[in-house]
């Protein structure tokens, strides 16, 4: 009896998971790099949203797949903000504001935090992704969130 149920359950779940999420054709968030951000800010100042993530962070993946795909989030980020997605563990050197920022923890730590993240995304000295930072036109931080935010929360934070 349980065996038949088992087989039934496998197929039901496969079907369920295999169905693509209801198609959303609102495009996607236009993510910028820090270099692009600098040029954009110089040309036309706007508020800035930065998503600090790492590739091992479950909640970050969830935000990518479920939150940054919502039309209202995409619209807000594309229209009112420059949106930056930044891997906090990247090893790349980044030139920003006339300075070269590097990941000085590479080879020293298992989860090396890039200087940009050290500057903007630490909370009591710790980095715990996802960290979401909102800055004003003068690049001054107005809010930081150290947790997963669903689209409702994110929209109200962005407004």
């Amino acid at each position: 009896m349980t065996r038949e149920l088992f087989i039934l359950a496998v197929f039901t779940i496969l079907l369920f998971l295999g169905t693509p999420a209801s198609a959303q054709e609102a495009g996607s968030v236009r993510w910028l790099t820090f270099e692009q951000l600098e040029d954009s800010l110089a040309a036309h100042p706007k508020r800035v949203f930065i998503d600090f993530y790492t590739d091992w962070c479950t909640y970050c993946r969830k935000m990518d797949k479920r939150v940054f795909t919502k039309p209202e989030v995409i619209d807000l980020l594309n229209e009112d903000y420059y949106a930056v997605r930044f891997d906090a563990e990247t090893e790349a050197n980044i030139v920003f504001g006339g300075q070269t920022l590097i990941n000085d923890q590479v080879g020293k730590s298992r989860s090396p935090i890039h200087q940009i993240a050290q500057l903007l995304a630490l909370r009591e000295g710790q980095f715990a992704p996802p960290t979401l930072v909102i800055l004003d036109e003068d690049f001054k931080v107005t809010a930081r969130y150290f947790e997963y935010m669903d689209s409702k929360k994110l929209v109200s934070a962005l407004k």
Binding site: R3, S109, L122, A128, K140, R144, E147
Partner: protein, 789 residues
């Protein structure tokens, strides 16, 4: 309040002693907060871990009196400036001067919204040593059921107890299975009956982690957790995931073990509801090591289906629901294709188990209070056959064999309420009431055998988590349990019954002292007790000399009590990419009136052999658990752990007591079936991101093993040889697309075929004469498909 003062005084004395101050135990701290050359007005100065604090005046000057002596950590903060923490030494009766310079917070990082609950973080420091066996380890050892992966923690050893039915139990610090409490999602619904075969029935793929606490450290869990608790925590969903796995193994070159697994989870975007599904279907052939036609490994057919769901009605509340349906068929003995009563020995069990639970949590608006309400249940119906012709072919043998079919009904219900209050200074108090009810009825009419037992335990518990400063933390608590056992135990013409109520108070205390950044000291004391009742082994029937062997409780069995002490040192250090950890833990457990099985030499008219559970001599179990790990980088890690212990009866313990004038009694000084040295190692090497090699193994030292030789059940005591059971696994991951991964793995379990060299043979064998690794060498091949790597 009086007690609190005393405690504070006690701690102050401790601090005084530690820092060699003899004058007074209070000092004064004063100083000035400035930014650049200017005084900074109104900054807040807080002594971390206490309520002591003040604000600077308009010029930035501050003064704090009555500060406890010793190292104190201060937090200085002001809106618009970057907060600072400083550690200062306060001397008794003196004023310590401290000037602080705060930097302006140019990026405005401090003054903004700070929240955080759902983020990725490591564990927090805990005064109880919690050993964790994670999903990774179950994967590395290619464990199908939980029982196959538990050996990889110090002090934990899973042993196989029967060739006819594959009864396994887990020993903690050398104490038998019934001294530990197995929890599923923190609830004690694993009944005596479940602990006979249950560890084989729970698939490893539903487990997020197994938490092992040696020696009952926390007052939150039941008093019968004398040796410790093993908490099986099933997966909590976050992402939308799915995974299907197939594992094929060939055991000893002949027996096929085929398993299919799946799990998947769906969680909504706001993380307010979600569900995880899981399932397993397993078929394992029986295995006969010595070619006598009788099994050493039983045939298994196991199907599991379950789910765990959560729902958050509001921001501050959460409801969790879980259920599992387990169906397991196992059979061992000889001629497995015949009806059991035509064979010489058959042990055949068909389990239908349902486990379910509901949990409700409510937080207060300010997050200072948490209230939880929970109820869990487990129900099992079991058809059993323990018997057979036993080598004989007389009409009496046939009559006995055909009447050896049995029926078991088992029910466990656990319900409780718990209240947590979080104080401003980070202390926590927990209060709760829990009721546990177990009802077991196991009947085999042919043997006139009946166990009909109801155990009800009501427990009241309280625990205070005390954190007077950053370095010291203590868990102080206790529980009061009222246990009522109402049981009828019958075999043949022997009738026993129990109707006892015992009330016992069990205090618990553990403390943590952070000597420095790298070194932690922990110590603990726990009292525990077990009310007289039938445990796992009493529900299992072995076979000896072609006759069934029953265990029955003796009359006037008294409760068993224990005192357990532990102390440990834990050293952890990271040097750049390299990580090193070392744990050394001493344990000392005293048992008073331990329940002990004594073979009485009594045979029933139908030939059955009887063992009796009596209050044995006192016993002491003591030793050292150790664990050392080194990992030079994320690519490679090595961990070694183990236990060196002694388990001695305080006076010589009789395990075989013949009827008068028959034979001499057989006695032991130490526990049987328990090695004095055992351990494990685990290692992995990530050759590339996709290619990974795992090498793991366990060591089982020499031990005393009883082997029944006499027709009346008298045993010989043998010294076993040590075993070294090594597993090797290589796996490769193909990243087919963003949403699809395929992993192939191959390997060996018990690579060097370290297995019991000699078994009893034929219908009259002693079925309990089995020890060492659970299975001979097997080769496996596994395929895993899923959307996550």
């Amino acid at each position: 309040m009086k007690y609190l003062t005393i405690l504070t005084l006690f701690f102050s004395c401790l601090a005084t002693y530690t820092y060699g101050q003899t004058t007074e135990n209070r000092g004064t701290l004063s100083g000035k907060v400035s930014t650049g050359d200017d005084g900074l007005p109104f900054a807040s100065i807080q002594l971390m871990g206490t309520n002591i604090g003040t604000n600077a005046d308009e010029q930035g000057n501050f003064r704090l009196e009555d500060v406890p002596v010793g190292q104190q950590t201060l937090k200085i903060s002001q809106v618009g400036y970057q907060s600072l923490t400083r550690t200062v030494e306060i001397k008794g009766g003196q004023t310590t001067q401290l000037d602080i310079d705060l930097n302006e917070d140019l990026l405005n990082l401090e003054g903004v919204v700070v929240s955080g609950t759902r983020y990725e973080q490591d564990r927090v420091s805990n005064p109880v040593v919690v050993g964790v066996i994670g999903e990774k380890l179950f994967n590395a050892t290619q464990s199908i059921a939980i029982s196959e992966g538990l050996n990889f923690q110090p002090g934990v050893r899973v042993e196989t107890n029967c060739q006819n039915c594959g009864f396994t139990q887990v020993r903690l610090n050398g104490l038998e299975g019934s001294y530990s409490q197995i929890l599923i999602n923190s609830r004690p619904i694993f009944s005596a009956l479940n602990s006979v075969y249950g560890l084989d029935q729970i698939p490893a793929n539903i487990v997020e982690r197994v938490e092992v606490v040696r020696s009952g450290g926390s007052a939150l869990y039941g008093s019968n957790a004398i040796a410790g608790t093993i908490n099986i925590i099933t997966k909590d969903p976050v992402e939308n995931t799915w995974e299907i796995r197939s594992n094929t193994a060939l055991i000893g070159g002949e027996a096929v073990d085929q398993t299919f697994n799946f799990n998947g989870s769906v969680v909504n975007e706001s993380l307010t509801s979600g569900v995880t599904f899981y399932g397993m279907s397993r078929h394992r052939d029986s295995y006969d090591a010595n070619g006598d036609g009788f099994t050493e490994l039983v045939r298994l057919e196991n199907t599991v289906l379950g789910a765990k769901a959560f729902f958050k009605p509001g921001e501050d509340s959460k409801i969790t629901l879980d259920f599992s349906a387990l169906e397991e068929y196992r059979r061992g003995g000889d001629r497995l294709d015949l009806a059991p009563h035509f064979t010489d020995i058959t042990e055949e069990l068909d389990h239908n188990t349902f486990i379910g639970g509901i949990n409700y949590e409510q937080w207060s608006k300010n997050d200072k209070n948490k209230f939880s309400l929970y109820a869990s249940t487990q129900s099992t119906q079991r058809d059993s056959y323990y018997g057979g012709l036993g080598g004989g072919r007389t009409p009496e043998d046939s009559t006995l064999a055909i009447n050896a079919y049995g029926l078991t009904d088992d029910l466990a219900v656990v319900a409780g309420v718990q209240y947590n209050h979080y104080f401003n200074n980070n202390d926590v108090i927990i209060l709760g009431i829990e009721n546990q009810y177990y009802d077991t009825r196991d009947e085999i009419q042919g043997y006139n055998r009946l166990i009909d037992q109801q155990v009800n335990t009501t427990g009241f518990f309280a625990q205070y988590e005390w954190k007077p400063n950053e370095k010291f933390m203590a868990l102080l608590g206790g529980r009061y349990d009222v246990s009522n056992v109402d049981g009828i135990y019958t075999v043949g013409g022997i009738n026993r019954s129990a109707d006892v109520t015992v009330g016992v108070f069990s205090p618990r205390a553990t403390l943590l002292y952070q000597v420095n950044e790298n070194l932690r000291f922990r110590g603990g004391y726990a009292r525990g007790f077990r009310a007289p009742q039938a445990f796992n082994e009493d529900l299992h029937i072995s076979s000896v000399g072609g006759e069934p062997l029953f265990v029955i409780l003796s009359d006037d069995l008294d409760k068993e009590t224990s005192n357990a002490f532990t102390g440990s040192l834990n050293y952890t250090k990271s040097m750049g990419l390299a990580q090193f950890n070392l744990l050394i833990e001493g344990f000392y457990t005293q048992l008073q009136n331990p329940f002990t099985q004594v073979s009485t030499g009594v045979q029933l008219p139908n030939g059955s052999i009887i063992e009796e559970v009596r209050n044995g001599e006192g016993a002491t179990v003591s030793g050292v658990n150790f664990e050392a790990g080194y990992s030079p980088s994320g690519k490679f890690a090595f961990q070694l752990g183990g236990t060196a212990q002694q388990s001695n009866y305080s006076e010589t313990q009789v395990i075989f007591e013949p009827e008068e004038g028959d034979e001499n009694a057989i006695t032991v000084d130490e526990f049987v079936r328990n090695p004095n040295l055992y351990g494990y190692f685990t290692s992995f090497y990530n050759v590339t991101e996709a290619f990974k090699i795992d090498l793991t193994g366990t060591y089982t030292g020499s031990m005393i093993v009883p082997r029944v030789v006499g027709a009346n059940g008298s045993p010989d005591l043998l010294d076993s040889d040590p075993f070294f059971d090594v597993n090797l696994k290589a796996s490769y991951n193909f990243n087919i697309s963003d949403d699809l991964n395929l992993e192939l793995s191959v390997g060996f379990r018990n690579l060097f075929n370290s297995f019991q060299p000699e078994f009893d043979s034929g219908p009259e064998r002693d079925s309990d004469f089995i020890y060492g690794p659970a299975a001979p060498r097997s080769v496996f091949f596994s395929v895993k498909i899923g959307n996550l790597y």
